[in-house]
């Protein structure tokens, strides 16, 4: 695609794949959404400031509450942290970029367009039932607005973005560390991101499956969440399975960042750093077995309640270790109270309050009394805003000189901290005292006695919100007129401070090496001991370099835009007030445009000559012998396992809760299932024979094997579609005729989409193999395709007995 028609400045930002620029894009976009979500919050606070207030209607208030929560959690907290991660982590581990730069850019554009979609949902009547999207409120009869469908599309898009990003960071951190940098040498911030990514890989596919089921319930009239057998309990399980780890997903990057900031400003290494990392890992694991504490009042049973009480209290222990380590680091230290340090300290203090009040909620008795009240609102805002946002602002001040090469105004920044800290506590502390005020109410009567505390909270809200104007003004003016910062204004210890500010496009002239004791070495220069600073930047050696206008690609933004309009087309064609249960009325022009553009863009993406500079010497334990792409594919398949696991889990859930289920063979012809299984197993054999042919250089073998794989894919989909049509036209059942139909059509349909995607890949490989590609040493693409295709086969190996034989 010709990119030269655009001015270089625009080209650079639209088509960049450089990790630092993508990081800046993430940060700026996250801050934009931060402002948007903050304005929604201030309007809500205005509404609640006095009793019987009617600034906002009830519907609009509910929409503001919901979109505020969704924006902050999905579009602000994690992307804010991943802005830093994008920019800083390759620098801290001594890499020149992420493993897959174009995928990284695509992650960003998916994120941006998903954010556009969630804001666009206001046009169609935004989601209005809280960020938890509780069932059965999401059922079409209770929430007929298509804004919720658009919101679901936005959530699907951002989940795709996060999954791509997770795979990319994981491969980068495992495979591209500077020579000698063992995992134990990595600073705490990359460790925090690594642990976060693991949680993302397990949590977000679950959420993706949950939102998909929510969407099909609304669009096709299926019954996952609108039936008694599935309903609220099914949603609670799949949502909170994701939702509680999500708390730590948004928190850990801030903790890791604080763990980098505090040692820099105290001039002492982090006390018990390895225990801090170990605690993060422990908390991450436990975080997946605490979700039931959000369901104490749903009647999950005494045994489950006890289990979740214990695990919830247990998950607080690793956080105790982290906080104690930071306090120990501070004891008797001569801390330089710069703005970054102040925000880090403030974040720790507020997080402790949020954490302790969270332990209260682990108690079943207290949870029964406090859940759904403003006490909970105060608790999670002390974690999310106090711990996470304050920590991330510390990062903004800490790395601003590195990003821009200029210093911000320290006095204004300190005023920003003081006003923010005071405003925050005036805003949220009164909510702890509003023990009896329900969340999400639009207004309240004067005789409730809640007025004064609400007025105080609103005052605090405006102080806190106003303080952020100082942040933006300070950073905006400083990046233009601030004093030059030099490479290392804080005498930082980690590798990013060894580079000029801002670093060159290629980061390192010479990749550093890390000695066994953790000291860094550049070329032949003597090692620089930790804490001595890096006076010269990386101007040592004359190695690799490139400019900001190299490595551009237009395809990531085009692919993301195609997905955006495709999903928009899926959602906006439906009527706002449906009269029939089945309401799927897509806006076909947008769907067609999105699909066509998507296929073209993906083809262009795969054909583009884009070389990724790979270092010959990297520290890549434990995956030294595994190529980057293969590790990425296996990691992606891991996410797919969770995705299908949740779909199958939902099937089990509704089936075991149903008093009756159709007899085996009464709905589906076992012979069809058997035939499809044989077809797919055979296609796996032909796929592996394609690899064998490629390896031995047999062009004819390769082409015929790929052709057979494609043909068998067609055969599978043909049998499947025949079965679907038969079931539909013979009145056996349609997608909306009950839970057996719902679970069958959606689970096998999702699998069918995967088969279709695999067939497109086969077609692409076939076209290239006709041109003589993939033979002998060039067979990796065939192998990678096979990994995916065999996975799709494995999924069917389970679906066949589950749906046809039991």
């Amino acid at each position: 695609m010709s990119q030269d028609i655009l001015p270089p400045r625009i080209r650079r930002w639209l088509f960049t794949t450089n990790h630092k620029e993508v990081g800046i894009l993430y940060l700026v976009t996250a801050l934009f959404f931060f402002v948007a979500a903050g304005l929604l919050a201030l309007t809500m606070r205005t509404q609640l400031s006095v009793p019987d207030n009617h600034v906002l209607t009830e519907t609009l208030y509910n929409q503001f509450v919901t979109v505020h929560g969704l924006l902050m959690i999905f579009w602000v907290l994690s992307p804010f942290a991943f802005g830093f991660a994008n920019y800083i982590i390759p620098l801290q581990i001594g890499a020149r970029d992420l493993a897959f730069p174009r995928l990284n850019a695509m992650s960003y554009w998916f994120y941006l367009f998903s954010g556009v979609a969630i804001i666009m949902s206001f046009i169609f009547g935004a989601p209005d039932l809280g960020w938890t999207l509780y069932s059965p409120q999401t059922a079409i009869q209770f929430s007929p607005s298509i804004g919720l469908n658009v919101g679901a599309a936005a959530l699907i898009l951002i989940t795709v973005s996060i999954t791509m990003s997770s795979v990319n960071f994981l491969v980068t951190m495992f495979k591209m560390r500077a020579p000698g940098m063992k995992l134990r040498h990595m600073p705490v911030f990359p460790w925090a991101i690594l642990v976060t990514i693991f949680m993302m890989l397990y949590a977000f596919p679950s959420f993706l499956a949950a939102v998909l089921l929510l969407y099909v319930d609304r669009a096709f009239g299926t019954f996952y969440f609108s039936s008694i057998q599935g309903g609220a309990l099914l949603w609670d399980n799949v949502f909170w399975f994701f939702g509680h780890p999500e708390v730590y997903i948004v928190l850990f990057p801030a903790i890791g960042l604080i763990a980098d900031v505090i040692p820099t400003f105290t001039r002492r290494p982090l006390y018990g750093a390895k225990y801090v990392i170990g605690s993060m890992i422990a908390a991450a694991i436990i975080s997946f077995i605490v979700w039931g504490h959000h369901m104490f009042v749903t009647g999950i049973g005494l045994t489950s309640t006890k289990l979740y009480t214990v695990t919830t209290i247990a998950v607080s222990l690793p956080f105790d270790v982290m906080v104690i380590a930071m306090i120990e680091t501070l004891i008797k230290a001569r801390i330089k109270l710069k703005a970054a340090a102040l925000f880090a300290l403030g974040a720790i203090a507020l997080f402790v309050i949020g954490g302790i009040t969270g332990v209260y909620l682990a108690s079943v008795a207290l949870d029964h009394a406090l859940r759904g009240t403003y006490f909970v609102v105060a608790h999670f805002h002390y974690i999310m805003v106090g711990g996470s946002i304050m920590g991330l602002i510390a990062g903004l001040y800490y790395w601003f000189p590195k990003f821009t090469g200029r210093m911000y105004n320290e006095t204004v920044a300190k005023i920003h901290f003081v006003v923010s800290f005071i405003g925050f506590n005036i805003l949220y502390f009164p909510m702890f005292l509003l023990l009896d005020m329900p969340r999400r109410i639009q207004t309240y009567a004067p005789d409730t006695g809640w007025g004064s505390l609400n007025s105080l909270a609103t005052l605090g809200g405006f102080i806190f919100g106003g303080a952020q104007v100082l942040l933006f003004l300070n950073l905006f003016l400083s990046q233009r007129k601030g004093l030059p910062s030099g490479p290392n204004p804080w005498d930082g210890w980690t590798l990013e401070w060894s580079l000029p500010s801002p670093p060159p496009a290629h980061d390192f002239d010479t990749i550093p090496t890390i000695a066994e004791d953790g000291t860094y070495h550049f070329g032949d220069s003597p090692g620089l001991p930790n804490g001595a600073g890096y006076p010269n930047g990386s101007k040592i050696g004359n190695g690799y370099s490139h400019s900001h206008l190299e490595g551009l690609s237009a395809w990531p933004i085009v692919v993301a835009f195609a997905a955006f309009i495709f999903f928009l087309g899926l959602t906006i064609g439906q009527p706002n007030n449906p009269t029939t249960p089945v309401t799927f009325q897509p806006f076909w022009p947008l769907i067609a445009d999105g699909a066509i553009l998507g296929v073209i863009a993906l083809y262009g993406y795969s054909r583009e000559r884009f070389s990724v500079h790979e270092e010959t010497r990297t520290e890549s334990w434990p995956f030294r012998e595994v190529p980057n792409v293969k590790l990425g594919i296996w990691t992606f398949l891991g996410a797919e396992v969770i995705f299908f696991g949740v779909l199958i889990g939902a099937y089990f859930f509704v089936r075991t809760n149903s008093p009756t289920w159709p007899e085996i063979g009464s709905l589906f012809d076992i012979r069809n299932g058997f035939a499809m299984t044989l077809v797919l197993l055979t296609s796996s054999l032909t796929a592996i024979m394609a690899l064998v042919s490629a390896k031995i250089g047999s062009r004819n073998g390769l082409i015929s094997s790929l052709l057979a794989t494609f043909g068998l894919g067609v055969a599978f989909l043909y049998i499947k579609s025949t079965e679907w049509v038969y079931l539909g036209t013979h009145g056996v059942f349609s997608v909306a005729s009950g839970l057996p139909a719902t679970s069958y059509f959606i689970t096998t349909g999702t699998h069918g989409v995967h088969v279709f995607a695999g067939m497109l890949m086969t077609l692409y490989l076939l076209v290239n193999s006709l041109k003589g590609r993939y033979l002998k040493g060039d067979h990796q693409a065939i192998e990678h395709f096979g990994l995916y295709w065999h996975f799709v086969d494995i999924v069917w190996v389970f679906l066949f007995p589950l749906f046809y034989l039991i």
Binding site: S304, G638, V641, G665, F674, T677, I688, D793, V797, I806
Partner: protein, 103 residues
């Protein structure tokens, strides 16, 4: 063994076990009291049959992963990576079902 023969052998096992899966359905207790065998009539309980079917599916998946996806020949770090991921995922899924059962 020649890799092509190995792949064909795996394929034969996969097809054979699918055939067993399909035929085992006849052993359901509701299916006219089971199947007449050499030493009498066999009728397995529903739970046993479901366990056998899921066990066979697990075995087939393992064969595909080991031989077609080459996990058997990959470095131990990668196979452990996949195995650990699957174990954690299975444990987490099991928790949902245990909770459901308790409920």
């Amino acid at each position: 063994m020649n890799t092509t023969y190995l792949y064909l052998l795996v394929f034969a096992i996969l097809v054979g076990s699918t055939d067993i899966e399909v035929n085992i359905v006849a052993l359901y207790p509701s299916a006219s009291t089971g199947v007449a065998m050499l030493f009498g009539t066999i009728a397995l309980s529903y739970g046993v049959i479901v366990s056998i079917l899921l066990g066979l599916a697990g075995m087939k998946a393992l064969l595909i992963a080991l031989f077609y996806q080459h996990l058997k020949y990959e470095p131990r770090s990668l196979s452990s990576w996949v195995l650990i991921g699957l174990v954690i995922a299975s444990l987490l899924m099991s928790l949902v079902f245990i909770q459901l059962h308790v409920h």
